[in-house]
Symmetry: C2
Subunit: 358 residues, 2 copies
């Protein structure tokens, strides 16, 4: 699989007149080579792929890396790559760097290690752009990760009861995730109860669950791929105001889901959710964007936000997660992951969305 990806990348590099690209962002290195170590650089030229790492990763690199030569060295991986260029390539060379990931410090060290015949050119999202469209193997991996996430929700519901600490709920969820084979959670689990449900990023805390909404936003990493889902449950007997608030967010989520199909912009998807919440007088309480791409990273391209022009294409995988938050009072968010198809989308998250009361 990496081989086809490298071929695609070489086509893009040729369009940009780059003779080589230094890949330093870990998930991009993994995408192209299969390597999962945390200290590495992948140099891609028109006919070679070379992974530079250090002695700690010798065995792992030999086991994991496909379609690239592995070089073990003592210097920083990108400096090893510079040394390789120094020794193996003659004449002028345009070397792309990943400007959104390489630090100012590393660029400067790279410049010093390279001869002046090498021109360093910033590139942006070159591999991320390829990664937006998931291939069949990736879609299969993502389906499995999302299914695992969906299956875990029942453990969340079981753990939530009045008086339990948010982090005890997270502990139970994460335990079950690990036992089911997850490598890790894809981000810090959000279990935000009562007034804390109004915090869009309310990581599980020592606060105890009382009466009211509990926002549960979590994901797993399985075989490298992330899942992401949110459900909001209610502890106690919801008032009709609570039910209406929940329903408004659910309607916004359904409206956004209904808008998804190849050919429309992600900004239009965001607008579909925002328009519905505006009708219900909640526009000002929807303080984040509608979604984001998911894959090897929990947040990747495309952004699904106001004004975004990126056009949806089959094979893109995005979240649809509108929410509404009244500071000091309550908050609701509902989130599915979907795969974009020609005529609509496949909703990957299988968990129901009617309001669960506990």
């Amino acid at each position: 699989m990496p081989n086809a990806r490298v071929r695609q990348l070489r086509a893009v590099m040729a369009e940009s007149a780059l003779q080589a690209l230094l890949v330093t962002h870990l998930s991009n290195v993994r995408y192209l080579s299969g390597f999962t170590g945390s200290s590495c650089a992948l140099l891609v030229t028109h006919d070679r792929s070379i992974l530079f790492t250090d002695g700690r990763y010798r065995t792992q690199a030999n086991e994991e890396v496909e379609h690239a030569r592995v070089v073990i060295g003592k210097k920083a991986p990108s400096i090893q790559a510079a040394d390789w260029i120094n020794g193996r390539t003659p004449g002028p060379l345009a070397l792309g760097i990943e400007a959104e990931h390489l630090t100012v410090f590393s660029r400067s060290a790279l410049r010093k290690a390279l001869p002046s015949r090498v021109e360093i050119r910033p590139t942006a999202s070159m591999i991320e752009h390829l990664r937006m469209i998931k291939d069949a193997a990736e879609l299969a991996s993502i389906r499995k990760a999302v299914q695992l996430g969906s299956n875990l929700f029942k453990h969340v519901v079981k753990a939530i009861r009045p008086g339990v600490k948010e982090l005890e709920v997270a502990a139970e969820l994460e335990y079950q995730a690990r036992r089911a084979g997850a490598e890790a959670m894809s981000f810090e689990t959000i279990i935000a109860a009562g007034k804390r449900s109004a915090l869009p990023h309310g990581r599980a805390s020592a606060a105890r669950v009382g009466r009211g909404f509990v926002v549960c936003d979590f994901g797993v990493i399985l075989a490298g791929y992330c899942s992401d889902m949110t459900r909001t449950v209610y502890v106690g007997n919801p008032s009709s105001a609570s039910r209406n608030f929940y329903q408004a967010v659910l309607d916004a989520q359904q409206a956004a889901l209904a808008s998804v199909r190849a050919g429309i912009s992600t900004g239009e998807v965001d607008e579909a959710a925002r328009k519905l919440l505006k009708k219900r007088g909640l526009a000002n309480f929807f303080t984040h964007s509608t979604g984001h791409g998911v894959g090897l990273e929990i947040h990747e391209a495309p952004r699904v936000a106001a004004g975004q022009k990126e056009i949806l294409k089959p094979g893109m995988v995005i979240t649809i997660e509108p929410g509404a938050y009244v500071p000091g009072k309550w908050g609701v968010r509902i989130e599915d992951m979907v795969a974009v198809t020609e005529r609509g989308c496949e909703i990957l998250t299988s968990t129901g969305k009617e309001l669960v009361t506990i």
Copy 2:
């Protein structure tokens, strides 16, 4: 507490003739302001500290931030900071950036957003240097995190038995960590059994535990501070060769611990461990460095590695973790966290180090 830290930083900024520093590395922002959100920039001038973030973090910023003004905006936080500089400061200004953290892309966007009277100057490890010396509040937090880690080891021992999957052991450990209040693990738990014990970074996998060594390397995050410890246990009845191998690593670890005191270099600590393993004929199997600083981040300054000149000072907190790995056969690592004192060190990790057999 942040106030004293900002004062120290201002003294360093003055030495470097910087009128302002743009802090973008999240743990540095947290160190100086208390803010734990994931999208922010802190601008420190000679008389002001301003934290820029976005609407998602309004409530959280108001709850957490001390000794800094909070500004909520829609642009990227560092661009908000540039706009503030544009509007509020007159005349030439030297603005430091964190070159080891800011990306080439962000630097370029920052340059475009700033007037030409502002000179952008790369800085390196300015705040990390301050963070090497832990203050009393930090030492107290670290002791608690390390104690929690030490307490959890009994759950690891209990979970390890022939036939169990490595990741089931990790699941049990992480569950107990969460229940005990850990916000998260400080890195991906390493449970590496049998031949996998020879992988210095053998993250817990679906492999089953059999006869032989099991390297258990894990840490928690508690109130923002990391712990890190490694113990290696043996499943079955160890041969005398296994025992000797274990003892060599333990002796190396003890030798390194005995060398720690204010005034010597971290390179000398590394040498103490390496020398012992060389005597036992294992020098080539110790393929990583002896340790690293720990605090708000799991890996921070100083490095405890061959040739390092950094001088130990009271209040530094480092790991001492030599290991030996024979690829395809076995590996052992033993790791404690210590706080450097004038005359030696305080070993923070309280778990015993005799070989535990299961």
